[in-house]
């Protein structure tokens, strides 16, 4: 039996800066997880991944990350790895938490 699809967001790192970025509803790259386009079907997720992979001059390492909808209906990470990526390291106030 096929595994049940888990909703996703498309994330990558910026080619020049290495910053964590997300594919948003306009097909642009957003800095915040909550601004990512919520990909609730496998077909849509794979389509966006294909589009992202064509943007190699802008990004590096695109992949689909598990996501869920938060109380405000905005996407949030479904796994702690993505929570760290969207926040920054826990030993210093560096990364995204410092930019907010």
């Amino acid at each position: 039996m096929a595994k049940k699809f888990t909703p996703k967001v498309l994330t990558a790192n910026h080619l020049l800066t290495g910053d964590v970025i997300y594919w948003d509803e306009n097909g642009d790259w957003a800095d915040a997880f909550e601004d990512a386009l919520y990909l609730d079907t496998e077909k849509l997720a794979n389509h966006v991944l294909t589009l992202a992979e064509k943007q190699q001059e802008v990004i590096v390492g695109p992949y689909l990350a598990d996501a869920a909808l938060g109380p405000d209906d905005k996407p949030m990470p479904a796994h702690f790895r993505e929570t760290f990526r969207m926040t920054g390291p826990s030993n210093y106030h560096h990364g995204k938490q410092a930019e907010a």
């Binding site: 964590v20 702690f80 760290f84």
Partner: protein, 555 residues
């Protein structure tokens, strides 16, 4: 110390020029990421969770003060003001921008450093004893051997695309401070029956998902046969090593699956041919390398100031008791500078701290610094009369923590705070353990205890050989920490035994606390270390304190 030859300088300059052009071609779209990735990895540039990471080689952990200052400059100019010393005696910068990396590599080249072969399936930076050239128990300085191996393995065309990475460590003392038995090849300098120089050759050690203690493949290898013999091992590994499964591709698996005797026979066959092929140039080179590692001109001075400070200042006395090791010159000491002030990130040093350590090495330490696999910084040659001044300067810089070899002197990999491979965090666990035992004011009473933490099964944090090892895993989407007991990283190397079920993130520090209190109750006296007590009693009483009956019943 070794200085680059013109050949070395030209080689690095050419490689840096190539990489600069490769970066430009990646940015202008001429290279895809698929094409660029192997090129950047060959130059030490990884992509991690939050950013790129540049891993810079510190050959056998040896630095001059000018090199340390340049690392400080790079940390400040191109990163966030700090660097992270690793268990491979390297330094990692966690936040470089792609466009800056060629400039960073050029800055490294100015001080004879590079990032080549810090990644990829090749022979990696050769590691060694961080007390090399200074330790009282040393038979011979292992650094010339390490440098010879570095030159031989750099850009070696036959070994640029091995089945998997390959790590070599060399020690020159009875005491193994370089974990040689957990390397693909470990070399221990020994003396033959008639006093001749040679090596005991250990092969097939390694940590990671299949931890194995290395096995002796040759009891005594004459010193002049080193390169042909090591080359023979690499050839046999290259031929017999598996390439069908990356998790079975290290030489430890090749040795395990084929048997040590088969590998030894194959190596000896290859060695007959290799020995003829080498023709003596390697020995000329080795002789010139040895000259570069002549001991410094040790000074002769009264020790009154040292003894006076020892009598007058309890905190200095504590530092002396804990952070000094015996030097081959009795008027000298080896000073280990802890990067592990309680609550700080193990292995991290700020640019300012790097400059202080460089200044101390230049002023008092014959211009030498070392990085240990335990992620500390060493001043290998300090005349004892200078210790009070050094201690005062270290205190000002937050570098005088007297905890070497104690419970807060923890190895921790970057873990999920930085590493793309990690399955859980390591750093905050180390920080909390150190802070907790500092609050309890117990660590000097506990005595020698090695805690080593890895944030994934790849074991960069050496958890398998920690007296207490902690492995962070992802269990159903939650961080979970497994404890191993009784590991040993020294010449009596042993892989720790898994204690039982793992602990949640907020349970791991209390679990370690139970374990340590248990040890304090179990030990014969204050002289019996954790490892000795474990070896005397076995795992059972430690498991009993780690998993109290009510907890087991609840599960």
């Amino acid at each position: 110390m070794y200085s680059y030859s013109q050949f070395d300088k030209d080689f690095i300059a050419e490689r840096n020029k190539q990489f600069r052009a490769q970066v430009e071609r990646r940015i202008d779209g001429s290279l895809t990421e698929g094409e660029f990735k192997p090129l950047r990895l060959m130059n030490g540039l990884y992509l991690q969770l939050h950013a790129y990471m540049l891993r810079v080689a510190i050959p056998y952990g040896t630095l001059r003060s000018a090199q340390m200052r340049q690392l400080a400059m790079i940390a400040e100019t191109f990163d966030k003001g700090y660097g992270h010393f690793t268990t491979r005696q390297n330094i990692q910068f966690n936040w470089p921008k792609l466009r800056d990396v060629p400039d960073i590599l050029d800055a490294l080249a100015e001080v004879e450093m590079h990032a080549i072969q810090t990644s990829g399936n090749c022979v990696r930076n050769v590691t060694s004893d961080h007390f090399a050239g200074a330790a009282a128990d040393e038979i011979e300085d292992p650094r010339p051997t390490a440098e010879l191996l570095r030159q031989w393995s750099t850009d070696h065309p036959e070994f640029a695309f091995l089945g998997r990475k390959f790590k070599i460590a060399v020690v020159g003392s009875e005491t193994d401070r370089a974990v040689t038995k957990a390397h693909d090849i470990g070399l221990r300098m020994v003396r033959g029956a008639h006093g001749e120089a040679g090596y005991e050759v250990i092969v097939g050690g390694g940590l990671g998902r299949t931890p194995m203690v290395g096995k002796v493949i040759r009891d005594f290898l004459p010193a002049e046969d080193l390169l042909p013999y090591v080359e023979s091992i690499l050839q046999v590994y290259n031929r017999l090593g598996r390439r069908d499964n990356k998790y079975k591709a290290r030489i430890k698996i090749t040795v395990h699956e084929n048997g040590l005797d088969v590998i030894r026979d194959e190596v000896e066959k290859a060695f007959v041919l290799q020995r003829q092929a080498f023709g003596g140039y390697d020995q000329e080179l080795f002789a010139s390398i040895k000259e570069a590692f002549a001991p410094p001109a040790f000074i002769d001075a009264p020790l009154d100031a040292f003894y006076a400070a020892q009598n007058a200042d309890a905190s200095f006395r504590s530092f002396v008791d804990t952070n000094l090791a015996e030097h081959k010159n009795p008027d000298y000491a080896i000073v280990t500078i802890s990067t592990k002030a309680h609550g700080k990130t193990p292995g991290d040093a700020t640019a300012d701290q790097m400059r202080v350590m460089a200044e101390l090495a230049e002023t008092y330490g014959h211009d030498e610094l070392r990085i240990s696999h335990e992620q500390n910084v060493i001043l290998p040659h300090v005349h004892k009369s200078h210790l009070p001044d050094i201690y005062a300067r270290l205190r000002e810089a937050g570098l005088a923590t007297a905890n070497i070899g104690l419970i807060s002197d923890i190895i921790a990999c970057p873990g999920m705070d930085y590493c793309a491979l990690a399955t859980a965090r390591s750093i905050p666990v180390a920080q909390q353990i150190a802070t907790r035992f500092d609050e309890l004011k117990l660590e000097h009473d506990i005595g020698a205890l090695k805690i080593k933490i890895s944030g994934c099964i790849n074991a960069c944090g050496h958890h398998h050989v920690g007296h207490i090892g902690i492995l962070g895993l992802d269990r159903a989407g939650v961080e979970n920490y497994q404890i191993t007991l009784g590991g040993d990283h020294t010449e009596t190397a042993a892989i720790g035994e898994r204690a039982g079920p793992g602990f949640a993130y907020d349970e791991i520090v209390p679990a370690i606390e139970r374990l340590v209190y248990g040890y304090l109750d179990l030990r014969n006296d204050a002289e019996e270390t954790f490892l000795e007590t474990y070896r005397r009693l076995g795992a059972a009483p430690f498991k009993a304190v780690l998993y109290p009956a009510e907890q087991i019943a609840a599960e």
